[in-house]
């Protein structure tokens, strides 16, 4: 084939040559990340679109996303009062964990649906498919920032204040949250195109996951319950942190709630997991490393499958 030979010489010279073959492309994360950054405009526009569409024709608009944590707060304050197990400064405690959970669960549910919801785009437009789940995360991030405003308001209004050395855990906890969320979202989004069961499974799974994570109740309760127990020679309490979100939420608690056992009119009762900041940081780093590995795998899977999305939809 004459043209083939002629081409070969110029391929190296021209970096803009796109070659499409039957081979599923191999993910090179660095290169791919640069590609995605070059197309960040699509991502930003999609996030803008989602936000606009989400609140289009609604009178309160973005206020709705602030209402969610406020309603949660009201409900759980009521519930914990009724069962007589109220924690001191409960709003600060609940919100600092709940916001992280919201970012995770909203990203996951909308991200898993993102490819299917944008079927028209996927079938008619050529663009980096990663942008769809990333846009879902982007939208959840905007909500997170807004809701964090509510949290800060609560912190100030209740006079609770922020705790400086503990606050330094926040960047680590937040980064871990982002990496783990991205990994799970890519994974679910990739699978959901082929198996629509995933989105239903997710709803059930997230419900269970929410309750096994110390968001509504005190982390100290878990520590008490599991203290001294072992499974195959490993402390059960350590195994508990195999749940990455338990580690992330406890990190958030320590960063934003700060005090392990705040003193309220009498003897201080422990609320947070009673471990050193160093131990929590170490757990977070371990989860971060695990999440990074998971992200590499999930992204690779998504990247490999995304070549066939237009066909599968």
């Amino acid at each position: 084939m004459q043209p083939l030979l002629r081409m070969r010489g110029s391929v190296a010279a021209d970096a803009e040559t796109a070659v499409r073959t039957s081979e599923p492309p191999h993910l090179r994360m660095g290169q791919r990340a640069r590609d995605l950054y070059a197309h960040r405009e699509i991502l930003l526009n999609l996030v803008r679109k989602e936000l606009k569409v989400k609140y289009a024709a609604s009178v309160l608009g973005a206020v709705w996303s602030l209402l969610n944590p406020v309603v949660f707060l009201a409900v759980f304050t009521f519930v914990t009062r009724v069962i007589g197990n109220s924690l001191p400064y409960y709003p600060v405690y609940l919100l600092s964990g709940l916001l992280a959970w919201n970012l995770f669960s909203v990203s996951l549910t909308t991200g898993a649906r993102s490819v299917i919801d944008n079927a028209n785009l996927v079938k008619k437009m050529s663009f980096a498919r990663e942008i769809l789940p990333l846009a879902a995360i982007g939208v959840a991030l905007v909500d997170y920032v807004l809701q964090t405003g509510v949290l800060l308001l609560v912190v100030i209004a209740t006079g609770y204040g922020l705790h400086v050395p503990e606050l330094s855990l926040f960047p680590l906890a937040f980064l871990t949250l982002l990496v783990f969320t991205a990994a799970m979202t890519f994974w679910m989004a990739a699978l959901n195109v082929r198996y629509r069961d995933v989105q239903h499974l997710l709803n059930v799974g997230l419900l269970v996951w929410f309750w096994v994570t110390p968001i509504v109740y005190a982390g100290a309760l878990v520590q008490d319950e599991l203290a001294g127990r072992e499974l195959l020679g490993v402390k059960l309490f350590d195994l508990y942190f195999l749940n990455p979100l338990a580690a992330i939420v406890e990190g958030m608690h320590r960063a934003l709630y700060g005090v392990v056992a705040p003193a309220v009119s009498g003897a201080p009762t422990p609320v947070l997991v009673d471990s050193s900041m160093g131990w929590i940081a170490a757990v977070l780093v371990a989860v971060l490393v695990g999440s990074a590995v998971l992200l590499r795998l999930a992204w690779g899977l998504y990247f490999r499958l995304s070549g066939d999305f237009a066909e599968e939809l």
């Binding site: 081409m7 499409r20 039957s22 405009e41 526009n45 785009l121 079938k123 008619k124 437009m125």
Partner: protein
Amino acid sequence: MSVPALEIVEVSKKFRLYREKPTSLKARLLHSRMQVEDFWALRDVSFDVAEGGSLGLIGHNGSGKTTLLKIVAGILRPTSGIVRQRGRLAALLELGAGFHPELTGKENVYLNASFLGLSRKETDRAYEDVVAFAELEDFMDNQVKFYSSGMLVRLGFAVAVHVDPEVLLIDEVLAVGDEAFQAKCLDRIGTFRREGRTIVLVTHALDTVRQICDRAVMLHHGMVHATGAPDDVVREMRYVLLGVADSGFVPEEGTREAEIANVELIRASGTSDRPMLRGDPLAIQVDVRTNEPVDDLDVDFQILDGATNHPVLEAKTSAGGIVIGRFDGKKRVRFRIPAFPYTAGKYWVTIGLTSRETGHLYHVQTQRYEFEVADAPRVQDRVDVSVDIEVEDL
């Protein structure tokens, strides 16, 4: 010769057709031996498009044109084969594909432009031109869901042609919109060609291919059936199209008791190689010669649109109340159309001789004759026209 902008080397694409797509885990597990049919949408398709070339990709519905375009655009993956493509590519598979109904026209322009590879700054620069091209100055702040389909099409095309691609893929999007806008789009594509950009155009409008492409490829059942100069490929396409629509297609048939001796298409302008104008008179003159005496001759003609092969105009001597009696020898029938009403394009003419009583076919020539119509130019100059003036008492 320069390096081709687009190389398609032995590309095949297999689709799996499921009776019902198993999109749930249960379906996958239970029906692992589900009835699956393989369908080859493309088989060993190879051709190049030179840099600055414009290629028309034609073929009947389901011949694999759109699949091929999607593979070139990177939306679908080939089952085997290689596509190499150089330069910035913009694919226009559906006008306004990226539009969201809840967003305003302006927001959609920015969203769509980013999908086609434009940065925000580049879109800022092109924005005024896009709006002017689409002629939607007053509607850019309205939500797109309130747009008419014509407005959507205009906006979609306006964005696409301002993207500044080196390779432009267009799938059957010129067929929409009103005539004036279509002309504007074709004009824009002409400009693209002069600027040396590469164009691949998928269309059913065979005339458009002849107008703006320098090469054409015809796909048939997923294989390259013909490739070459647009005129040749379009002729082949027309033949195959008719063959597919009617397996009994023969260009000429009949028992020849009477036969068509000569046909003239007489236009006002006289010469037959230049297109006539829309609204011009046209006469179809059919000379008939008999080989044995014929009692009940009926002469008919049919004019078909060259782009779509749809009949647009037909007439019959008997339907006009004319009875041609028994005769042996020659007769001349003239059908006069005072003003040909259809738009610019190619038209084919079929002539038939039949029996009035039985419908028996003496002789038919299917789409043997052709003529071309150009749009009447608008009169812009002052012309001396005498004006009658009357004044009446009331």
